[in-house]
Amino acid sequence: MRLYWHFLKSNLLYNKVELSISYGLTCLVFIAYFYFQYIGSKLMAGETFVSIAFYALLYAFFSNKKKFNLKYLVSLPMPKSQMLLVKACSDIVFFLPFMALAFAGAKLSNLPVGSFTLVILLFQASVMVSLYLFDSDIEQPRLENTRASFVNRLVYVRKGLDSFFGLAMAGIFGSIIYASELPQSTKQQALVVCAFLVIGLKYFKSLKLLKNESLSYFVFKRDLLGMGWKSSLLVAPVLFVVANGGLKSLTPSPYGNNELYKAIVSNDLVKLKKLSSKGEKSNLAGYTPLLVAAQEGNIQAFEMLLNQSTNLNAVVTNKKFSGLGLSHVAALSNNPSMMDRVLTLQEDGLDLLSPQKKTPLMVAAQYCRAQMVDHLLSKGANPNLQSEKGDTALILAVKNACDSSVAVLLENKALATIKDHEGKTAFDYLNEKSTIKYLLKRKLPKEYIEAKRDLASKEEVKLNLSL
């Protein structure tokens, strides 16, 4: 412990100028943030902090480079394993500004990571950078004037490939954890544990490099073999994906990996018949097979499943579409024939309300299914019904920037003056630069537009006075 403190103290006391610059600049960034907050400007947001943190990391990286050379460190009386760890941990003083800025940026950008976890992840990132820095010192051939000096240049190619390989592996594991169905807190803990494992691996690799001089050189047989299997590990998944239909095949199905659902989605009736007769488990990812067929708009599959006396009143039970019934999911298919078939089965299906009081028209409008919106309106769907939150189909279409649906709804007597439970009309949800602003404006009474204009000018005056 004394050794750690000695290195940490030395870093703090002997690098006053460099540390003063980086800590001073960090303070200035925070002062600027609070100043802009005070004057009401949105110039400094979380993303700005994150980008500044990136430069702080670069500064820490370069200001920390070549402090002592390897020869000096090796000459000091301490074990090599400890030297490596001590140096990596004591370098944390150089990375603290980066950690502070990245922490502030992540919190201001509302990144869904707990504060404690974020601090640990940033600390781990700093240790990793420090170890990487150390490696760059060790990995150079220790004797330059050899006959094999040209071959030794290949060390840098090997190093580049190693870094790329490491990043790819970290990215893959990170993505797997991120995309998993685990709860948020478990995902974060898994990330922290994985990062510790990566640091451990990096540490042992650096130590090996420090002890074994031959690793600083490019030994043809050994390194070509190593590079070969690493390259194939990187390239093999890419080739596999390309051979199996590109990136699209990697996109997870909303219905899970069930074979029955796959057969419905691909309209493979033979396979579907075989699987349904086997009694394949049929309630994964919150869908029944009939709901999948309706949402996908596959009429033939729908008819086949219908013959097997499927429950017509089943609803989706997953998080995203919870409570949506047959006519709602048929609205998502954007296939008018599918909707017509469903409406023959469910007479009250046209304005059927989900538990959130959403009609099929609202669902179609919310998910930009303009053709379905048009079809439902022609069938007589009521465009002015309100959901549990007071949203009309028009408000939902505006909120989701579904311009075609907005235009169709306005053409079919959807009222622009209806307010939701927050007291806002569809006009209030319009984006400043929206191209359909005029379409809505002409449906609103003149008094409403003037009142809005007055309010805006008063707010501007208030802002100018406070400045």
Binding site: Y14, V17, V74, S75, P77, M78, S149, N152, K211
Partner: protein, 229 residues
């Protein structure tokens, strides 16, 4: 025995062989000079002795320990003085000495004070502002103040001015009299070794041989060259 090398072979990984069968025995209080032509492998020998590089074959013990081993108990009795060592530019001489003293329990603060004035060094000067000679002098102060049992010196005298060089050798002679410290000094200035070292390790053609100091002129064919001149 302080240093014991038996049939040491060193081959640069993926490169040429530098040593083929190096034998050396250094006892307590011995002062050895290491001489050889440029590129003969003087610095490489120092690297092998300090554990910066591992030997390829043979046996090498420094203070009874393998130099490449991670857990050396007696490393705090060894000091490495080299022109190749790079100290952080922002460190003052005082910082460097304080940082180094931590590792050597036997560090002599009084001697440090004496040597600083002896070599005319200002402790507040930063390494970034020092000349190469001054940097080496700061290392010399640290080396002697640590009171080690063994000092490796790699090409440190060539960058010193005549006065500092004289002071350095005068102090080295004092240390030699104490018989508590051994020194292995690699240099290109053969004259420096007169009256300071006991033996000379001459490196030539991938081999090392031990000679008396008086043989130096003969080793480098200096007599023949003088006749030609």
């Amino acid at each position: 025995m302080i240093v014991e090398a038996k049939n040491v072979i060193y081959k640069v990984p993926n490169g040429e062989t530098v040593y083929e069968g190096l034998n050396l025995e250094v006892y307590q209080g011995d002062f050895y000079g290491v001489l050889g032509k440029n590129g003969a492998g003087k610095t490489t020998l120092m690297d092998l002795l300090t554990g910066y590089r591992p030997i390829s074959e043979g046996s090498l013990k420094v203070l009874g320990e393998d130099p490449i081993s991670s857990h050396r108990r007696k490393k705090n009795q060894i000091f490495v003085l080299s022109h190749d060592i790079q100290i952080q530019q922002s460190h003052k001489i005082a910082n460097y000495l304080e940082f180094t003293s931590f590792f050597y329990p036997q560090y002599d603060k009084n001697l440090e004070k004496h040597l600083l004035s002896y070599f005319d060094l200002d402790t507040n000067s930063k390494f970034g502002s020092l000349s190469t000679g001054q940097k080496v002098k700061a290392q010399i102060v640290a080396a002697f103040s640590c009171r080690p049992k063994l000092i490796f010196m790699d090409e440190v005298t060539a960058v010193l001015d005549p006065e500092s060089r004289k002071r350095f050798f005068d102090h080295l002679k004092l240390v030699k009299k104490e018989k508590t410290c051994s020194v292995i000094m690699a240099t290109n200035i053969a004259e420096d070794l007169n009256g300071v070292v006991d033996k000379v390790l001459f490196i030539d053609q991938k081999k090392a041989s031990v000679h008396d100091v008086a043989d130096i002129r003969h080793l480098f064919n200096l007599e023949d060259l003088e006749q030609v001149a």
